[in-house]
Symmetry: D2
Amino acid sequence: MIITIRPEASSEERAHLMTLLCRVTESRAPIASTRTAEREVIALDGALIDTQVQQLLLQQPAVAEVLPLKTPYQLVSRSFQTTNTRILIGADHTCDTVTVGEASASPVIMAGPCAVESREQLLKTAHAVKAAGANVLRGGAFKPRTSPYQFQGLGVEGLKLLAEAREQTGLPVVTEVMETEMVDMVAEYADVFQIGARNVQNYALLRAVGKHPSKHPVLLKRGLSSTVEEWLLAAEYIMAAGNPNVILCERGIRSYDPKTRNVLDLTCVPLLQEMTHLPVVVDPSHATGRRELVPTMARASIAAGAQGLIIETHCDPSVALCDGRQSIEPETLTRIIREAKALAHLLHENELVQVA
Amino acid sequence: MIITIRPEASSEERAHLMTLLCRVTESRAPIASTRTAEREVIALDGALIDTQVQQLLLQQPAVAEVLPLKTPYQLVSRSFQTTNTRILIGADHTCDTVTVGEASASPVIMAGPCAVESREQLLKTAHAVKAAGANVLRGGAFKPRTSPYQFQGLGVEGLKLLAEAREQTGLPVVTEVMETEMVDMVAEYADVFQIGARNVQNYALLRAVGKHPSKHPVLLKRGLSSTVEEWLLAAEYIMAAGNPNVILCERGIRSYDPKTRNVLDLTCVPLLQEMTHLPVVVDPSHATGRRELVPTMARASIAAGAQGLIIETHCDPSVALCDGRQSIEPETLTRIIREAKALAHLLHENELVQVA
Amino acid sequence: MIITIRPEASSEERAHLMTLLCRVTESRAPIASTRTAEREVIALDGALIDTQVQQLLLQQPAVAEVLPLKTPYQLVSRSFQTTNTRILIGADHTCDTVTVGEASASPVIMAGPCAVESREQLLKTAHAVKAAGANVLRGGAFKPRTSPYQFQGLGVEGLKLLAEAREQTGLPVVTEVMETEMVDMVAEYADVFQIGARNVQNYALLRAVGKHPSKHPVLLKRGLSSTVEEWLLAAEYIMAAGNPNVILCERGIRSYDPKTRNVLDLTCVPLLQEMTHLPVVVDPSHATGRRELVPTMARASIAAGAQGLIIETHCDPSVALCDGRQSIEPETLTRIIREAKALAHLLHENELVQVA
Amino acid sequence: MIITIRPEASSEERAHLMTLLCRVTESRAPIASTRTAEREVIALDGALIDTQVQQLLLQQPAVAEVLPLKTPYQLVSRSFQTTNTRILIGADHTCDTVTVGEASASPVIMAGPCAVESREQLLKTAHAVKAAGANVLRGGAFKPRTSPYQFQGLGVEGLKLLAEAREQTGLPVVTEVMETEMVDMVAEYADVFQIGARNVQNYALLRAVGKHPSKHPVLLKRGLSSTVEEWLLAAEYIMAAGNPNVILCERGIRSYDPKTRNVLDLTCVPLLQEMTHLPVVVDPSHATGRRELVPTMARASIAAGAQGLIIETHCDPSVALCDGRQSIEPETLTRIIREAKALAHLLHENELVQVA
């Protein structure tokens, strides 16, 4: 259920509403108001409120509207917001900007190395992906590694190198944030917070990027075996905490066949577009784990309606410290971007994409 | 390991080779010669033969060539046959013909109802899918149903209706064969044998369609949770029994998210095209289980390189006896075919498809 | 819905009932009467019949009782038969007999090699498993192999060797039947039909063992990724065809962790005992794929309530042609049987097993 | 590879070793010394070190021993420590103590409500589980919930109630810690840190409980779809950070059958006991998600060799705010504990448990 607050409601009226809500939910659910692009709302699980209480809520002076939704997710729902959310990347630093979720013909391309390894590697790769036509630079400064003995990233030094690469190329930067303590630091250097697959249900971290004053967009990867609903609820945590700029990123789910790293679930793209107004991008690199499959699956992702791609690219994949097996070279990226644009253009021309 | 027989080898030379092979494998592996499009071969698991024996084989007068392959699958391997297999559908009855696996711009479209329910339903749907541009009529006469109390298909009556629909529309017919006893009967009425997901490891059935004198093409669906390798080995059973006309059909694999019926694994399309010379088609209807997702996933399948689509279409999905939830109406099929052709044309023009 | 026929109903009354049922189901569901241990019944999907029709059925002179069941499975349901089904093995040949499903302290142990490889191997192993305390000899004469180039079993020769081993040891024999054409042959030599995991939805085969006049017990393995409900419906196919002697065999399900061959789902044992009256046995050999895990998982299976175990045992696992990695030696079997009996005794003494 | 430091090594010698290691790993892997129960060690990925470097390391005065291990996990490996790790619970507060991992006949039982809901609910349940024979009280003060609108736990108030329950009953307390910021706070009130399934790869949190000066034992739940190796590497993060007191808790893995919440993978118990010296306990409540299956699966867990159980128990499951469906009543717990002890005793008497 989503309760829209009247903009002119007094603080007494708001307080009264809050008290009422706490009483009806018996304090067993968090109650907080949130600001979306257009309005101030309170969202809560519809199952907690019966029709009688709903009537009572509508009589409150602080309340403009009550929208009952039967799904567990609320603010991310397409029923709450029927138009696509458009998210501007790059507004907070001096660099290029790009919008994800635009009903335009061009998908947003995020590219770069799995991990920032050195100044030379990063800058060389950054210039190459820029030249290939990418819109955003990706690169891990903090790396979540299955083993404590693997390379864990360059840390803050890596963040600084990403900022330098942005300065040189104009590309805004997306990088993973793994800990609540690092959110401020990452916000300072990056343009987009990435939440990795392993942290999709790290609720403290979701809340931290949700309430961070920067309101940097959040690239929320799907968990290793998240259902679509669990993933949307992770996005809901971020929105409910105050940040409406969430980009969903499909990166494959765990399955039984060792031939590919994960199973890319492209059907989730049109499914999500039915369920949510948030943009969806696809990461064919982690999904397949094999570089020779990336170009084809990038193309299929665009055909499935993805509004962007995130692709691991390395100036020299053979020496990559991390995930070299799935990294492509900049020349391949050039071809992928050219194809993605041509395909998106064709789909758009033939009105094969939903314009909302 | 694949041993190519010299065409002019005498029967004594052949017998001598067979005896040698039986001896080295200690009779623990079946040894039989098979005829592919171009030559006569004997395939067997490479692990059974060491280098010394390989040398010995090469000295046999019956042997033209020995190709050692490290994979468990042999005849279906791209290493054995580097060019795409092209499979002609419709040659054995008076009707249209169409080739799957052609490096042309047009994917083959198979469409029709899940089950043949009545003369009226089938003929109406058949004419509608023909008008929409489909190349092959699909329809189940024998239905594998999870419960013994569900509609099991019209049986032989259904086969006759399919043949009548072929006569009226010119569309060749693909239909499922579920039992070895029915292979002759199905061969008489149908143009393509379909092996369903539940029978992908029913080896008696695979052998039966493999050695059937009709050599009708076989549409081999992936099993509910087949690995790509297991699936290729199922195709190998058919080829090893003598029928080289196998079409692989991805139809989704089992996973944990109830939002869709299965998870469509589109990555298997480019993966298979690396591993095998056999054509690959996609069934977005069974994969998603929801008609509103079918058009988008049909498009993504073509972008992934699928050489055809098989789509459940019903003249009135709301009354379908089987899988109505995933059946589309003929109007939607018209749009899907138009899109698929446009997309395939674009990909072909830009040389985004592998031409072998 | 299960309709019990009055024993004294006349053939006219029966025919009248059949006609009525065909009319109300609009011929879209198979209608056939079946004989369980105690009565003659007609089972059909309850969803086809509304309350009004149910009233009509009760008024038929042929009808003794109507039991509406909401589950898709009917005859296998614990709601239809509240007492455990007891299945006698070995009654049709001159050999020992043993009952599965008895609420006694001793689980039934089936043991033997994966495949019958030679007279010597089989007889040596058979005597060893008899000495170890096993009740039934297992051994594959026809082997379903993922690759057509692997050892496929000795076929009929293997069946004859199994019969010879029975003669020598007194142990009844369970062996896999893979094709409808072989059901008669297997029935002649074996005491229990085994349906393998790959054939759990081979409905023609399920029907063939269901209607075979021998009424040999059927050991129905769970499919690679069968849900419990799909598996029960496979058992329902057999019962609906006339054979009530079905033993369910959990053998692990497919999952993502390569450390074990499958994931043994022991929770299905108490779950099935709630849902069905059929006995449940466990195959820890195929489930784990590693012999060192078999003794512990055998023990856990008994603690979970399994009424028997089926364990791959080979007189010399290191030279086994098939699944040697998971075969144990007879000495280990001796220990497993001793433990299983002690554990079952303890559970029984403490009334930890459901006695129905 | 695990390098044991000579206790008498000088700080110069240690520094020299560190410099050498940094050089050979090219600073691409973290290097830190850790203290296990008996010695000071440095662990690192064996693949980074070749034989030549290994020789060099052995010549260092700071080095007592070098143990090369081929597995990615090191300190948790059974090859590093062959005896079972015994972990004392309850030493840091005034309460009962209990040891997990002891080769004794009695498994450790942790029981209590999913969430602390109120003083009355917690104290009533705590007294009841104590009376039933439990050794440790479980209860969530901070709850990781899929939706932001669900009850999130009482927070610090919940921790205080747990401490009060410990005072009244003498039971040590295990409770989940979800954020690095809360580790100090949870350490103050609890005896065991629980890391939930969703946080098994939250490496910041693993490190935080690893390096916390309390060295409270850590109950590390398996992730929703962790492989056994990934799970051991999560434990390795904790050990490498300095806390050797890790208890592994199997709680079911995600699968495709909706009949149970998860699939309880009991085979991991003997598998882990081969691979690691850490104790393993089982949570049949979350694994099955249905209270009627808990007693049987508790029994099977003990038979599989689990050294303890963690069982959701509520004084009134019908009003539980969280997971009531899987919570049992105290009477059932009494029976489960009685059975578990009898079974463990039997297994121990018959030497069916590995004593290390």
